[in-house]
């Protein structure tokens, strides 16, 4: 009987679920509704302001949390959906799915650090 390594991915999936449920909607409302409809003034989201936000350590942290955890959430969910669609994926597919999330996580960390 072998122990599953699922707890790692389930943990990331859970964290992603929290972010997707609690924080992402706020981002969507701001960037998808309030900003395009002109309800909040355009200057608030001006390039230099956003750049300053992304360059601060706390801004970078927020961006990382908002980008990375939902990635793990969605790739974990998609991976399990394959099984539900009777595509019985093996370790290779698992590696591809979690690999995407992993690569994107590393890429975001690097990009955020460069900023």
């Amino acid at each position: 009987m072998s122990r599953s390594h699922e707890p790692i991915f389930w943990g990331l999936f859970g964290a992603g679920g929290m972010v997707a449920a609690l924080i992402l909607p706020i981002f969507i409302v701001i960037t998808g509704l309030l900003y395009p409809l002109g309800i909040i003034p355009a200057e608030l989201l001006a390039y230099d302001r956003i750049f300053a936000f992304a360059s601060s350590w706390w801004g970078a942290l927020i961006l990382l949390v908002v980008i990375c955890f939902p990635l793990w959430l969605s790739l974990h969910r998609l991976y399990h959906c394959l099984h539900d669609f009777k595509i019985h994926a093996g370790v290779r597919t698992q590696t591809v799915f979690y690999g995407i999330a992993y690569t994107a996580t590393i890429a975001s960390i690097v990009l955020v650090l460069v900023l």
Binding site: M1, P7, I8, H83, K86
Partner: protein
């Protein structure tokens, strides 16, 4: 005055039927007629060859599980009045091999229930002289709901993951692990964790939640499994710091 219900039943008699076939019966019913009563009427008055399981007639024994219009139900706890104006289609419990008519082969389910050590385990043997083990109502509350299972198998018929891969330990057996692990009289949690930690343990569940919807006894196996995932995740972290495991 009795009304008439058209009941279609998926028949399978291995000695004559190559594959299951539908057969219909017209059954008179009133406000009190359960599906199990209706099957009794068919057997006594219309067709003695029909096979189905039952015993208690009161949602205690867990033998009369079947698919009623595609939903897993206990025949003795579902009533024709709730299907008035429609038609009833009865099939053997989904996800189990059909043995005959509405009778399924439950061996895999029973083997799973037995495999997870569903009994109180103590580190030291206890004798009668030790007296009784007391428990506060609050301690009992921790597991009582999960001890109400009657092993009817409806949750396995409802679970798409068990349907896709019957290696999955499944709702009732995982709920039973939770029931014993959370009993203050029990000390067997360490022995049972390995059943939880497996891929086929709690991690075979994707939280569809249908098991808890269909359970006739309010057991909520889905909640037990989610709590099991938390336990297993904790256990995972702890074993990382324990060398040689």
């Amino acid at each position: 005055m009795a009304e008439i219900m058209k009941m279609s039943i998926l028949r399978y008699r291995p000695e004559t039927d190559e594959k299951p076939v539908w057969q219909s019966y017209d059954v008179p019913y009133n406000h009190e007629t359960s599906i199990l009563d209706a099957l009794g009427y068919i057997k006594d008055e219309l067709d003695p060859t029909l096979s189905y399981r039952w015993s208690c007639r009161m949602a205690i024994c867990g033998s009369c599980g079947m698919m009623v219009n595609g939903q897993p139900k206990l025949g003795c706890k579902a009533f024709l009045r709730d299907y008035a104006g429609g038609e009833l289609k009865l099939e053997a419990l989904a996800n189990f091999p059909i043995e005959r008519d509405l009778v399924v082969d439950m061996s895999d389910f029973i083997a799973k229930l037995e495999s997870i050590k569903p009994y109180i385990i103590t580190q030291e043997p206890r004798s009668l002289d030790d007296g009784c083990t007391t428990q506060t109502p609050k301690q009992m509350e921790q597991y009582k709901q999960f001890s109400m299972c009657i092993n009817c198998g409806l949750c396995y018929a409802a679970c798409p993951q068990y349907g896709l891969d019957n290696k999955f330990t499944g709702p009732a057996a995982l709920a039973l692990i939770h029931r014993y692990n959370n009993d203050t009289r029990d000390q067997g949690k360490a022995e049972r964790m390995k059943f939880i930690n497996e891929e086929a343990g709690v991690w075979g569940c994707t939280f569809v939640g249908n098991c808890s919807v269909v359970c006739p006894k309010g057991v909520d196996p889905a909640a037990a499994i989610q709590l099991g995932k938390v336990e297993s995740a904790k256990d995972y972290v702890i074993q990382m710091f324990k060398p040689g495991e």
